[in-house]
Amino acid sequence: MPTMRYREALNQALREEMHEDERVFLMGEDVGVFQGAFKVTAGLLEEFGEKRVRDTPISENTIVGMGVGSAMIGLRPVVELMTINFSLLAMDQIVNHAAAIRYMFGGQVKVPLVVRMPQGAGHQLGPTHSHSFEAFYLHVPGLLVAAPSTPADAKGLLKASIRDDNPVIFIEHETLYGQRGEVPENGGPMRFGEAAIRREGDDVTIIGISRMAITAEKAAAKLADEHDIEAEVIDPRTLRPLDLDTILESVQKTNRAVIVEEGWPHGGVGANLAALIQEQAFDDLDAPVQRVTGADVPMPYSKPLEQAAFPHEEHVVQAALATFRDL
């Protein structure tokens, strides 16, 4: 199987889907001549031309709104926002229109729109470029939410997002763009709502969101090496729909759960998932569900502060150990 970087996998998905369907086009700030702020769209302007790879002004709300409008009458726009923080400027169009239009007009139209954006800390971009906001979008009925952590998932899920008739919030991660991984040759779209079990184990279930799936895997290796604990690591890959079955099956086996996310703790993905687990698997639990989250602060710039503000594998190890503490 060929290996490639996460950004190359995304690029391949875009290229393949644009070849597949004339209605697919890209819009975003510096996606064309500049080749994308993170080079995800490299080469696409040259290949497909200005009609289908459109550099936009810095007008996030209107770019997304135009994506919604064009999707309503039959195009399949893929809008790139430079960071998830900038998507807050487009929250009106995403929540009030993309997510609601089909419902509020009684099913007369659909909105096959994809909004791609990277999130995450680690590059010292400070408090307006480094957050993790999956929870905002998870909150909204009408949206689908994907947060792939590997190149293979990035490609397969982006292809699925473009082909899906629903509006999709596609959350990438800034520190993953350069990560390499195996990507199946001629791989098609993946299914939404199918979690990946990254590592099997019987002792504790660790659910990692976005990049935290990788942090969770590292923590699991440490738990095995240093504590003789076999963790099962689950990457949900999509948050709406969520593959709760796989998570519950695992918790039923391990009786312990740790949820790891980079976003803020209050009202976070972990808060939601912990509630789901206790609603559905309370009797299976031998310990309270543990959450590992980003610090409850705007992301600081200074390197040591920034590193302290998002989870690392030692935090996950501690949380996993805590599920055994009272036994």
Binding site: F25, K51, R54, T56, P57, S59, N61, T62, I63, V64, G65, M66, G67, V68, G69, S70, A71, M72, I73, G74, L75, P77, D92, Q93, N96, H97, I101, R102, Y103, M104, F105, G106, G107, Q108, V109, K110, P141, G142, L144, A160, D164, D165, N166, R191, F192, G193, R240, P241, L242, L244, D245, L248, E249, Q252, L276, E279, Q280, D283
Partner: protein, 413 residues
């Protein structure tokens, strides 16, 4: 208690009456008789429909907010008459008139206001969110300025698909202060999109008079710096609106030059039904009522011998009868089934086979329109007023496997 002087805030002039618009002056020849009749009957239908909607609101048949366009009929009918059938229209939340002018059945518009399943948005949208795909009326929108990017997106798609279709994007004067106004004008001009923006300047952003909410009160120049030329017209004269919008549509369609039209008009009624109108004087309203677009047009039709007074009365009686029928239809229509609460949130396909796959709390509970087997459970949920998930415990694949398997009892410790 001191009597508060009713001014537009700072004691300055009441609403601006632009000097460049000669209200009441004849600007255009009448079109043919058939067109005159269509235009008059549409304006009358809108007027009667709105009056009746106001009454139905007072009788609590209609909930929420109700924004009436009485006084603005010439802008709505003049603007929409300029469209081809294949063109698109988007509007604000004051859009009953637009739907009616575009040909949506008054019955389904009234039914939507009544929240009935027979409404044009199946009772999901209400007064502010009418929509009629077949008439290419792409909606009323409740966010001021929110529909501007959408309309530019529709224009982008029309350009992309190489059609001749144009969209008219209607907004109020208040929308010109939103960020989306500047963003959308810039993009429309930059990408040469086939769109015509029509500002229905009814002099108020809710209760704030134009000169108190916009530093520039000639709204037709607000888009020019972004590359979209603007033209002002007499919004009380249906022929003037029609003429100016027609020219604008031609530019947008044939030359791919987006245009803006400001139609200066007046809202006789409050912003919504819940508006005590403390911000303007009766005299001001009367002054504008004297320019009434329907009376002015019908008087002229009689004066020029196109129709008689009796004909005018007959048209009005027909409008009243149509509205009577619409009210009857709405009142007799059922409310949406509670079971339909979860319909049409998602398009179901292989990724989203049913609603419960998206709201994981509620497996087998609210299944959505294509998956519903029994209405019982979603009905119960809807009656409880929320998607309470605790009614059913999720059936786990593992449990099912065990039941079907060796039947080994689970050791619960």
């Amino acid at each position: 208690m001191a009597t508060r002087e009713k001014t537009n805030g700072d004691g300055a002039a009441p609403t601006d009456v632009p000097a460049d618009i000669k209200f009441g002056e004849i600007k255009h020849d009448l079109p043919d008789k058939g067109t005159c009749e269509t235009v008059l009957s549409k304006m009358m239908l809108i007027r009667r429909f709105e009056e009746r909607a106001g009454e139905m609101y007072a009788k609590a048949k209609i909930g929420g907010f109700l924004h009436l366009c009485i006084g603005e009929e010439a802008t709505v009918v003049g603007g929409t008459q300029a469209l081809r059938e294949t063109d698109y229209l988007m509007s604000t939340y004051r859009e009953h008139g637009q739907a009616l002018a575009r040909g949506t059945d008054p019955k389904v518009v009234m039914a939507e206001l009544f929240g009935r399943v027979t409404g044009c948005s199946k009772g999901r949208g209400g007064s502010m969110h009418l929509f009629d795909w077949d008439k290419r009326f792409l909606g009323g929108y409740g966010i001021v300025g929110g529909s501007l990017p959408l309309s530019a997106g529709v224009a982008l798609a029309n350009d992309y698909l190489e059609t001749e279709d144009v969209i008219v994007s209607m907004m109020g004067d208040g929308a010109t202060n939103q960020g989306t106004f500047g963003e959308t004008m810039n993009l429309a001009a930059l990408w040469k999109l086939p769109v015509v923006f029509v500002i229905i300047n009814n002099q108020f952003g809710m209760g704030t008079a134009l000169h108190r909410h916009s530093a520039v009160t000639d709204l037709s120049i607000k888009s020019e710096g972004f590359g979209v030329p603007g033209t002002r017209c007499d919004g009380m004269d249906v022929l003037d609106v029609h003429s100016v919008v027609t020219d604008a549509l031609r530019c947008a369609r044939e030359e791919r030059r987006p245009q803006l039209v400001e139609a200066v008009t007046y809202r006789y009624r409050g912003h919504s039904m819940a508006d005590p109108e403390e911000y303007r004087t009766k005299e001001e309203v009367e002054e504008w009522r004297a320019r009434d677009p329907i009376k002015a047009f019908s008087d002229r039709l009689v004066a020029e011998g196109v129709m008689s007074e009796e004909d005018v009365e007959r048209f009005d009686a027909e409008a009243i009868a149509t509205v009577d029928e619409a009210v009857k239809f709405a009142d007799e229509s059922p409310f949406p089934d509670l079971d339909s609460l979860y319909d049409d949130i998602y398009v179901f396909d292989s990724d989203v086979p049913a609603w419960w796959t998206v709201d994981e709390r509620s497996p087998h509970v609210h299944r959505g329109e294509h998956e519903r087997e029994s209405g019982e459970v979603p009905h119960r949920l809807a009656e409880q007023g929320a998607a309470y998930a605790g009614v059913e415990r999720r059936a786990r694949p593992r449990d099912e496997d065990k039941d079907e398997g060796e039947g080994e009892p689970e050791d619960d410790g």
